[in-house]
Amino acid sequence: MNLAQFLTIFISAVFIYNVILSRFLGLCSFIAISKETKPALAMSLAVMFVTTMSSMITWLIYRFLLIPFNLTYLRTISFILVIATFVQFVEMVVRKISPALYRFFGIYLPLITVNCAVLGVAVLNVDMFFVNTKAVPGSFYYSLFQGICVGLGYTLAMLLMSGIRERLQLSNIPKCVKDFPLAFVIASIMSLAFMGFNGFRF
């Protein structure tokens, strides 16, 4: 377990291989919800919470359930069930604790289940930190940290995009590229800009 590895995970997940701008995970919600800053921030925080927790839970399940019983091919099904259950659980808790917050999130909360980023980071953790069904030393902490960083990367892209799209509401954009097409073009330019961090070495 060394610091350089954590730093690499951070730079990778947030900047170089940004979950949205580089891996295309979570695009649907990104394009749909990044129109205004407030919902974008709310969605990002919720996603970050879910990616962090589900990274932990899926790691534990993979390590202590799937591997010992030779069920690694059930990875996809079990992970997505875990995530769906967890999101459902979060929904119930939020509803109980703070109805105002629940109403604020609205439909965005259940939508996190199908956010590619969440399942994506769980699968990524397994691919990166397990070698032939053996866990790499420090694997749990790396996976957890990667879950957090993926959430941070998602938040960064969302905040930047929502700021931009809010400003663009005052512009007279050509009608055929309004909304979605232009959002993709902007994401494309942002992706180009973030490529500046390629080849990072400490």
């Binding site: 930047l160 663009l168 007279n172 942002m190 180009l192 800009a193 961090f197 070495r201």
Partner: protein
């Protein structure tokens, strides 16, 4: 096109200026750099500049006609975009490179957002990073300055003639070149970035006339200098910050591209944040990233953050708590 939109509070003083006039003034301030580039690199550089500018003007004209919008190629902004894009290219690129680059700058960097004043990203830089990602071979093949001739002792690679920053990136020392040579532009690099003298002449002109303000360039350059000094090659606080400031596209970027008022924050406070951000990212990429130069990426990233910066550094409105 007279800009009648006023964003501050009365009383106002009237200045006889229009957006168009400011644009052409910026063009004039860039002429010394262009001349220097041609002098240093030869007639190839002149062709790149001409092709870049003409392609930008034609692209804007044709696309605006097709989109049934008012043709605005005379306001100077397309000219600047084409010029700046050309200045960001190595001198011996294939003829079609500046043409495609300018077209992309105008179409995707500017018009798709609705035209002048509405783009989020600096159009010339959008074109540059597009070209860099698409044809890296052409964008990183530099030629030595003409004045070099037979007497130029290039330490490592006589064929690709790497820039000083590229040599630094490989971990080797860049002591073969003197500060004076760097200042005058006797090095390999992009057409408009090498001659610091010419760039500063134009920059001082713009500063005196008030067309750009000091906030962004000074904080940008200062931050990059501090970072490269602190994290030097031979240990902490040993970095050659002067070398870093004179090399690469820092001066060109800080004075002429980061200061583009459309894509940078409105208030002084916001501009300082912008400048520091650009400086930090540039330094980080130069010091630890894979690319030798990071100015274009840094500016584009801060362009993306500008709407947010503007939102949180608004001036207090008189009478509102």
């Amino acid at each position: 096109m007279k800009n009648r939109l006023i964003v501050s509070f009365p009383p106002h003083l009237h200045k006889d200026e229009s957006v168009s006039k400011i644009m052409w003034m910026v063009v004039i301030s860039l002429i010394p750099t262009g001349l220097a580039g041609v002098l240093i690199f030869g007639i190839d550089a002149l062709w790149v500049i001409i092709l870049g500018v003409i392609s930008a003007l034609l692209s804007e004209g044709i696309l605006q006609l097709l989109g049934k919008r008012r043709v605005s190629i005379l306001d100077g902004s397309a000219f600047i975009t084409g010029l700046l894009l050309a200045y960001n290219l190595p001198p011996k690129v294939p003829f079609w490179l500046p043409i495609v680059g300018s077209f992309f700058s105008i179409a995707i960097g500017k018009l798709i957002f609705g035209g002048l004043g509405q783009n989020i990203f600096n159009p010339a830089l959008v074109g540059r990073v597009f070209l860099m990602a698409s044809w890296p071979k052409y964008m990183t093949t530099f030629s030595p300055p003409l004045s070099a001739g037979a007497g130029f002792i290039h330490p490592f690679d006589a064929v690709t003639s790497a820039t000083p920053l590229a040599i630094l990136k490989e971990g080797k020392s860049a002591e073969y070149i003197s500060y004076l040579d760097l200042f005058l532009g006797k090095r390999g690099g992009c057409i408009g970035e090498v001659c610091i003298l010419a760039l500063l002449l134009g920059a001082i002109f713009l500063l005196i006339k008030g067309y750009i303000s000091w906030h962004i360039p000074i904080t940008f350059i200062f931050t990059t200098g501090v970072m490269t000094y602190v994290f030097g090659q031979k240990g902490l606080f040993s970095g050659d910050w002067l070398l870093h400031i004179l090399c690469g596209g820092l001066i060109l970027g800080a004075f002429f591209m980061a200061t583009d008022c459309v894509t940078s924050p409105l208030t002084g406070r916001g501009q300082i944040i912008f400048g520091i951000g650009c400086g930090l990212i540039t330094a980080v990429i130069r010091l630890w990233g894979g690319y030798p130069e990071g100015v274009s990426y840094a500016i584009l990233m801060m362009n993306a953050a500008t709407p947010l910066i503007d939102r949180y550094t608004r001036n207090r409105v008189y009478g509102v708590k």
